[in-house]
């Protein structure tokens, strides 16, 4: 009986720990990344088709929460993302849509927002820190329920002073890995 009580107590303690706010280093790194520029290299694995699509480009984030996402290879295109709209420019043609109508973008924006506020995310995801090199951090989120689970099942963030790696697993089986590097 005492063992049972001990196990339950430990379980509760872990539960309380899991509900702690995100580490400040993570929050600060995300915040800093969203106010600076970087080069990115993206690898996208398309489920079912055995495709591995690689692309690269730059990203410029501003304090007003606008993001300029430029693809350079394998072809050129630009995406201007604000909290309200997303504008796609490719081969001179422009296509603008509202973020609210793009569920996946809206979800990512929401996640980022929650991360920035260092909020308790336990209502939609469990998170744990993973081992990493000295001065670096890596944190893994498993989306458990709610609207976010419709699109994203899990994601990982890693970095040091800034965010360096984002890995996202989507509900349809696709996976995306984006590595950020300082602008030269």
């Amino acid at each position: 009986m005492r063992r049972l009580i001990f196990l339950v107590s430990v379980g509760c303690a872990f539960g309380l720990w899991a509900a702690d706010p995100l580490p400040a280093t993570v929050v600060n790194a995300v915040d800093l990344s969203l106010r600076s520029s970087a080069r990115w290299e993206m690898t996208k694995i398309v489920a079912g088709a055995n495709l591995r699509l690689a692309s690269s480009g730059t990203v410029k984030a501003a304090a007003d929460r606008t993001i300029e996402w430029k693809t350079e290879t394998p072809f050129a295109s630009e995406v201007f993302l604000s909290p309200e709209t997303m504008k796609l420019v490719s081969e001179g043609a422009t296509n603008e849509v509202k973020v609210a109508e793009l569920p996946h973008y809206a979800q990512i924006a929401s996640i980022v927002e929650r991360l920035l506020r260092a909020n308790d995310v336990s209502d939609f995801a469990n998170w744990k820190t993973l081992p990493s090199d000295e001065g670096k951090w890596k944190i893994h989120f498993t989306v458990t329920q709610g609207r976010m689970a419709r699109f994203i099942t899990e994601f990982t963030l890693a970095g040091s002073a800034k965010m360096e790696l984002v890995q996202i697993s989507f509900y349809n089986g696709d996976r995306t890995e984006i590595r950020f590097a300082p602008m030269e």
Binding site: M42, K44, V46, A47, G48, A49, N50, L51, L53, S55, G57, W69, T71, P74, F75, S77, V79, S90, A100, E101, L102, P103, H104, Y105, A106, Q107, I108, S110, E113, R114, D123, F124, Q145, G146, R147, A149, R150, F151, V166, I168, F170, N172, G173, D174, T176, I178
Partner: protein
């Protein structure tokens, strides 16, 4: 012995309750509670009820409000995570979103956005490749399921707004006045919707969630929809009625103990009420497959009448036989007052009438059978004198009249359902926000599209010009015809684009989707949100806005639930108002038959109570609703009841009536304090109407001592005029038929008539004689046949009459002397002295109509010297003068008739000795064949006129008791 018999009654009550309860369990009946249940059988369109029910009964809208959309969404997620999904299913958040995506994936053939269809194959392929490479996110579907992003484009093209609500990650959100809102539509699980027993607990769960999440003050959560209103009102009304019931019960018990003093009598009252309630409820169970809760709520008012009867039975100091007449009359009038509801054609009104009718009949039967076991009251009442009570009542009626004067002008009848129900501030605020943001999609007006199948409905919908902001079935489920066109376009794309896609991406050739199927075959139940089936099996879809539809096209119709509900209540109010008019008319006619001119005293208390109650409601700013009118039926019955008892029993009825009024007043008047307007309106009518009716009844009907001078039963002038018209139009036979019908009613409802006449035959002979008298004295053509008896004295009498010798006839109340003028060949004038004060109505009638006949009536009461000289003159002129000799008025002397002491008028026999003209005792008797026969006996020795007269009368009276109409004898 009495106690044992009373126990028998208790056992009877218990057995009745057990039997009826068992029947209720064996044959359960559904009790409906919502407004749509009322409408479904009475709407213009057979599907209207289904639409309304589908649209309101089980749907709950939850609106989250916070300073930002993100805060709203966060709160909404926490809220939905804690939602009990065994009670509520979700239609707009994540619970079924995955199922929708999976459904589309399985049926992707032909599902492409119209925008994408217009692009070239090359553009589609190019955009898809670029999107795959440059976007860090993925589509809604896997590459193998949706290689060209066609299905993704279709899902994104679905209506993303609902009024001002916009689809935000599968959730409807809106921004207004600097606040963010999110909306979730919940559906109640089977078994909760419409079940007033389970619904409050389900809704409490939602309120509990709200409390737990809105404690920080930033987030406000509103609940809308019919189930919320039903549950909140049911809970609140139940609580209030529980409190009021305790107060009422204590008061009623106190009154009952004060008045009855014995527990057996209190138990008797309780058993009477129980019998009424069980019988009424059982009748509803057996006659209706489904009945409405409102019928039961209203029908509880029958308790007021039943308690009244029980009090009268327990407190009567007279025998059951003596109070039976008043109670029977009250019972009949009440049943008749509710009878018109039977013919209303509105089911709920029929249910109310059935409950009250059967409940009252059962209670009456119970009182009649078991009432004798409670015995008669031995104590004198102590509610004060009639005069004091009358003074107090006069003050009350005066106040009521002031109410009527000031409020009467403001009486307005409600035409909108909003007048029947006013929700609490929080619920109103929730509905306001929902309506404000939902706009055209708020369900104020609907367009219904009919069809033989789902595919046909979709095709019919696609023919309409529906704005893109309106959510409708065909947008989510394009018809097979539309998908077939798109499917062919997909085929060309796959043919042309597959190679390019394969070469650029290095993937395998994607699989071409299978051909689209009819939604009738593959649409799962969960996806049939837009489609519904009415009671006749017709399928239709519902567009939540009024759109342009072809005129007179049976495939389309527009529908407004609010308008439909308003129309229903407006129609029902009009029907009920008419029925109330019919009820009051029926009551007046019935009471006129029984009370004649006195009927106004009986009906006026009810009318005063009703008008005062309506005026009071108007002063309080309320419109007169259906439920005020329904309570007026009850008030009509109770007002008449008070008046009948006060009129029939005077002071003796005061205590039972006061007790009954007080218990009803507290029991039903307290309902005024219930916040549910429907119940409150019944309470107001009863709280104001009952005391006013009672006070008016006391003023008009209560006497210190009921007058009972043994006068003949008077007739109402109106009734006699009706009989006269019948006679003039249809002749004497029809006249007799009419009088016999009246006789039957009088026999049933007039204890005095029964007591005087002793036998029905005697009363019937009397009234038939009245008809014949009317015909004979009027000198009409269809007068009854009168023949002379074959004896010497009669022949002599006739010869004297015909010869104009002037004959004094000492008549009697044996037979009908008034038909004498109808004897063939009577050329002379008749002068009849009658006691006009005792038969005022008849004589006034004769005075009006007999001017053209040869009969003149004179008042015997005012017989003086002038009349004496006139009498001699008439005799000298050869006329016949009639004076009754068998009933005393003026100076009288005692004589013996068939062994009984009677008082005879001395003056008549004195005149007989002095008049110097032939004097005859004459009787006109009705024979079995309907003819009348004149028998005369000459009074030869006028000094012994009385003795000869009595001898003649006695001989005939012994054989013709049923034709003797001297009620004093």
């Amino acid at each position: 012995m009495r106690i044992k018999l009373f126990h028998l009654g208790v056992v009877f009550g218990a057995l009745l309750a057990a039997a009826l309860t068992a029947l209720d369990i064996l044959f359960p009946t559904k009790m409906s509670t919502s407004i749509s249940d009322l409408i479904k059988r009475d709407s213009d369109h057979p599907a209207a009820g289904s639409v309304l029910q589908r649209n309101s009964d089980s749907m709950v809208q939850v609106i989250f409000a916070a300073p930002s959309i993100d805060a709203v969404l966060a709160a909404m997620e926490q809220w939905t995570n804690r939602l009990d999904r065994a009670i509520f299913s979700d239609h707009t958040s994540s619970f079924d979103f995955e199922a929708v995506l999976e459904f589309y994936r399985a049926n992707r053939g032909g599902l492409v956005s119209a925008e994408l269809l217009q692009k070239t194959d090359e553009d589609i392929v190019k955009n898809r490749v670029r999107s795959l490479y440059s976007s860090p996110t993925s589509g809604l579907f896997s590459f193998t399921d949706d290689p060209f992003g066609l299905l993704d484009s279709f899902v994104r093209s679905l209506p993303s707004s609902y009024g001002a609500w916009r689809m935000n990650g599968g959730v409807l959100t809106a921004e207004s006045d600097g606040m963010g809102y999110a909306l979730i539509n919940l559906r109640l699980a089977e078994g909760y919707a419409g079940d007033i027993g389970r619904l409050p607990a389900a809704v409490d769960h939602l309120f509990e969630l709200n409390r737990s999440l809105s404690s920080d003050g930033n987030v406000k959560i509103y609940l809308c929809g019919a189930p919320i209103h039903s549950a909140v009102m049911a809970r609140r009304t139940k609580t209030e009625i529980n409190y009021l019931s305790v107060v009422s019960l204590v008061f009623v018990l106190a009154v009952a103990w004060f008045a009855l003093r014995r527990w057996q009598r209190i138990l008797f009252v309780f058993l009477t009420v129980l019998t009424a309630a069980l019988a009424g409820y059982s009748a509803l169970n057996f006659c209706f497959r489904e009945f409405h809760l409102l019928a039961c709520v209203f029908a509880t008012t029958v308790i007021g009448l039943v308690v009244d009867y029980a009090f009268h039975r327990c407190l009567a100091r007279e025998s059951w036989r003596e109070i039976c007449r008043s109670m029977t009359l009250s019972f009949v009038t009440t049943e008749l007052s509710f009878a018109p509801l039977w013919f209303s054609g509105v089911e709920i009104l029929e249910q109310m009438a059935l409950f009250v009718g059967v409940g009252l009949a059962a209670a009456f039967g119970f009182i009649a059978v078991y009432g004798r076991f409670v015995g008669q009251s031995e104590t004198e009442m102590s509610v004060g004198g009639v005069k004091t009570t009358k003074r107090l009542c006069a003050i009350l009626v005066g106040v009521a009249l002031i109410l009527v004067v000031y409020g009467g002008r403001k009486i307005v009848f409600a035409t909108s359902a909003a007048d029947l129900y006013c929700p609490s501030g929080e619920l109103m605020e929730a509905e306001r926000i929902r309506s404000q943001i939902s706009g055209a999609n708020g369900g104020e007006a609907l367009t219904i599209v009919c069809g033989a199948s789902i595919e046909e409905i979709l095709e019919n919908e696609e023919q309409l010009d529906i704005p893109s902001s309106i959510v409708c079935a065909s947008r989510f489920f394009p018809s097979l015809k539309m998908r077939a066109v798109a499917y062919e376009r997909m085929r060309t794309l796959f043919d042309a684009g597959t190679n390019k896609l394969v070469s650029v991406l290095g993937c395998e050739a994607p699989e071409f989707p299978s051909a689209p199927r009819s939604w009738d075959e593959c649409l799962p139940d969960a996806m049939r949100l837009f489609f519904m089936t009415d009671n006749d099996g017709n399928v239709f879809s519902m567009i939540p806005a009024a759109v342009d539809i072809p005129k007179d096209d049976p495939r389309y119709w527009t529908y407004s639930p609010r308008r439909e509900i308003n129309k229903f209540f407006s129609d029902m109010t009009a029907v009920t108002l008419r029925l109330l008019g019919v009820t009051l008319t029926v009551l007046i006619v019935l009471l006129a038959v029984v009370y004649r001119r006195g009927c106004w005293r009986i009906i006026i208390p009810s009318l005063t109570g009703i008008v005062a109650a309506f005026a009071c409601a108007a002063l309080f700013g309320s419109s007169i609703t259906l439920f005020h009118l329904l309570a007026a039926f009850m008030l009509a019955g109770m007002g008449v009841d008070y008046a009948i008892f006060m009129n029939g029993h005077g002071k003796a009825a005061l205590k039972p009536v006061v007790c009954s009024m007080l218990t009803s007043l507290v029991g039903f008047g307290s309902l005024y304090f219930v916040s549910f307007p429907l119940v409150s309106s019944i309470g107001l009518v009863m709280a104001v109407g009952l005391p006013v009716s009672f006070a008016t009844a006391v003023i008009l009907c209560a006497d210190e001592k009921k007058a009972d001078d043994g006068a003949e039963i008077a007739a109402s002038p109106l009734g006699l005029e009706i009989l006269w018209c019948m006679y003039r139009l249809f002749g004497c036979r029809m006249l007799r038929l009419g009088t016999r019908a009246v006789t039957l009613v009088i026999w049933c409802f007039s204890a005095k008539a029964r007591a005087n006449a002793k036998t029905f035959t005697r009363l019937c002979n009397f009234t038939t004689g009245l008809a014949d008298k009317l015909a004979a004295m009027s000198g009409g053509a269809d007068a009854p046949e009168v023949i002379a008896h074959d004896d010497e004295d009669t022949k002599k009498f006739l010869s004297f009459v015909n010869d104009g010798k002037g004959v004094l006839v000492i008549s009697s109340h044996l037979g009908m002397i008034e038909v004498l003028p109808a004897l063939g060949g009577c050329p002379v004038k008749f002068h009849a002295f009658m006691n006009i004060s005792r038969t005022g109505a008849f004589n006034a009638f004769y005075q009006r109509h007999l001017a053209r006949s040869d009969v003149e009536l004179h008042a015997a009461e005012s017989f003086g010297m002038g009349e004496m000289f006139a009498l001699y003159d008439w005799l000298d002129e050869g006329a016949v003068v009639l004076m009754a000799g068998d009933r005393g008025y003026g100076r009288t002397f005692e004589a013996e008739l068939l062994g009984r002491k009677v008082r005879l008028p001395a003056g008549v026999f004195k005149i007989a000795g002095l008049c110097e003209h032939p004097v005859f005792a004459v009787v006109v008797l009705r024979k079995d064949d309907g003819r009348y026969e004149v028998k005369a006996k000459e009074i030869k020795n006028t000094d012994e006129a009385a003795a000869e007269y009595l001898a003649f009368i006695s001989g005939l009276l012994a054989k013709n008791r049923n034709q003797y109409y001297n009620w004093d004898f």
